[in-house]
Symmetry: C2
Subunit: 414 residues, 2 copies
């Protein structure tokens, strides 16, 4: 029932927000940024309580780090809001403009989607980040964060709502679901009357559960089992550099590489170079039989569980392939369609790979780590879509809009 009420309020707010001009939305975003900064003390206090509760519950250090807010991270949240204010307004973009032979003038324009619900986990900065992107794209947002960050989320949403009101927009443009039980997430997934799209941000488990259970349309994000294929015509040093970067620059993110496929002809030369780089970053290689034959004690034997696995850690699977085609087949089988890469100096092999591999981003001679809204020039992102419908790859402001046809006639009938 609470969710029903939140949904209704979001839909009402969305209707007002859809008519708001760019200036009003930007003013609200800047006010929200100021409010977050000015409320830093309040936010830190709330976050301190979350941290204490999490420590008492035995949360591990990685998770504690994600949960923690600092003065610097709070400034980052505020700056994120300001960055979004500076981006172009995606609403009202003319996507197509044509006059039909009968004189009908069709103008296809970008419009807000309506109400977006975001289900996420422990990182409290996702709250401001999602609010900013949804607001700028004219969508009301319903935020349902994890229980670990609930006090931090309540504090930041309160600050942002007050700023919205001050800027002349409905405070219900941004709402937080304070019930953090499974029941509230489940209710959101079935709130079809009010929610136009649901975006899960977080673990593979959360995303899978949302896709399976939600009757509200979902934009599937995340989960990247990314491969680097080192072709026989690769530059070995470039291959080692790309693999080191793709694996170790930030192993916990979805665009990090999880598996290398090495052409048999180049393996004896390139594998030791790769091992040098990965060892320096304390990264374990789990190899198939032929990799083990080359690397010996520098690697450990892979098991069947290692293929198609997202480690999100300093571990990388490695496997020898006999041909480009075998690499493509392997990727077809194990890729999650996020980011894939071929390293080669052979343009024909590269083009075959780029065309045959079906993923949001397919790279020739560059690290998979570039799959990111900022790196793609979108300014900001709400996630990386790994699905085929609506949007694929980094989801920026444009991807948070729908469209409509405005049609100008002079009495035409059919």
């Amino acid at each position: 029932m609470m969710l029903e009420q939140i949904g209704k309020q979001a839909k009402q707010a969305a209707r007002v927000l859809a008519g708001a001009d760019t200036e009003t939305k930007n003013r609200a975003l800047l006010a929200m940024a100021d409010a977050i900064e000015q409320g830093a003390e309040q936010l830190l206090a709330a976050n301190g309580e979350d941290m204490a509760a999490a420590r008492a519950a035995g949360m591990n250090d990685t998770m504690l780090d994600r949960l923690q807010l600092t003065a610097e991270r709070i400034r980052g949240m505020a700056d994120g809001l300001r960055d979004v204010a500076a981006l172009p307004d995606p609403v009202g973009r003319v996507l197509d403009d044509q006059v039909r032979p009968n004189g009908l003038h069709l103008v296809k324009v970008a419009v807000p989607i309506g109400v977006i619900a975001v289900i996420y986990e422990a990182r409290p900065n996702v709250t401001a980040d999602s609010a900013a992107l949804c607001l700028k794209s004219g969508n009301a947002v319903i935020l349902r964060g994890g229980k670990e960050a609930i006090r931090s989320n309540i504090a930041s949403v309160e600050l942002m709502r007050a700023a919205l009101k001050e800027a002349g927009l409905p405070e219900n443009c941004v709402q937080l679901v304070t019930d953090t039980t499974h029941a509230s997430a489940n209710a959101l997934m079935h709130l079809n009357a009010y929610v136009d799209v649901l975006i899960p941000r977080g673990s593979q488990r959360l995303i899978r559960a949302t896709v399976e259970q939600s009757t509200v349309p979902v934009i599937q994000t995340g989960s990247g089992v990314c491969h680097i294929y080192v072709d026989k015509a690769a530059d070995p040093d470039m291959a080692a550099s790309i693999i080191e970067n793709a694996k170790t620059s930030r192993p916990s993110v979805c665009n990090a590489a999880e598996c290398m496929l090495i052409h048999k002809d180049i393996a004896p030369v390139v594998l030791p170079k790769i091992a040098d780089r990965l060892e320096a970053k304390h990264t374990q290689i789990r190899g198939d039989g032929r990799v083990m034959a080359i690397l010996g004690s520098r690697a450990v034997p892979a098991t069947v569980d290692d293929w198609g696995r997202e480690y999100l850690d300093y571990v990388m699977a490695a496997r020898i392939v006999d041909s480009l085609e075998e690499a493509i087949d392997y990727v077809y089988r194990y890729s999650t369609g996020h980011s894939e890469c071929i390293v080669t100096e052979d343009p024909a092999a590269a083009e075959q790979y780029l065309n045959s591999v079906d993923a949001a981003a397919v790279y020739w001679n560059a690290s998979t780590r570039f799959t990111d809204g900022g790196e793609f020039g979108l300014g900001a992102e709400i996630g990386i879509s790994t699905q085929k419908l609506h949007a694929r790859g980094p989801l920026g402001l444009n991807e948070l809009t729908s469209m409509k046809y405005k049609i100008y006639g002079k009495g035409q009938i059919r």
Copy 2:
């Protein structure tokens, strides 16, 4: 289990089809058209059996008409396939092309979605039509038609599959589910491992059931509760002409109007004109109290059930509103977001309506009947999307594609 096998075959075929060039796809489409025409006798015989069974089961005349194939309709199916062959290939379109400051070259191209499942009802021509659009857009299709048309569908799919094979494409690019029970539809809705998108074509009941039950992403089509708002500044004759056309030119389709909203100031002038037009087309008006006061015995009183109702028949609801804003509010409440129209000579009122009403197509001074792939210049359509994600409005070939980024580097790391 049968569905599992069909899904697997579709996915394999899709992989081959995704790499097929335009010429091969067009050759296959033309061969399919010829096969349909040359197999007309076989098709008519199968359809005759469907018709006999349907008559024996007491099917009504409208439904029998939808089910029936004639020599002319078979030619229409074949011509439909040829029309799709003549359309531009949506695959490989460059959607974006940019070089980032670090030298990475990003090319965003249209790619097939993969495997599309279509669930539909009694019209056997949907079979060829869906097969054509999916094939041209590089997608394997799984067709699940209604039991009434099963013999006709088996016959046409056999003809098309033989033609595919001859043209050098996998026959499993087009597959028919011959089990027409609810169980097979349900299994399709949960075939996430193989099916990328599900498109229901048919009754509101079918569409609603699919949206509610499917875990496979759905493109929601159909269901149009379309309104014509006659503003106080309308040209009364244009209003009457548009309403007559929108209601009576083909009442059974989703872009037909179901309700007129008349500004109180113009109602005494315009309503009798509208009644003249609708009476000539044997169309009943169901009016609110104020409409009844003007039209008297020329209308019948509406009940609460008449608001937001899709008659798909020679019946139209009518209601007086006090203002443009009231019309917008009414449409907000009852529209299914398909096609909406304002008739007015006042550009400011028109622009307010076009901006405030949230629907796939919003018309100023033109019939809602134009919402159609052909009329919008798409060449052909697989339905009209009334959802906000992926595509809204007529779904043509472009809307049956996804996208990917092909990224050209020189060893860049992040």
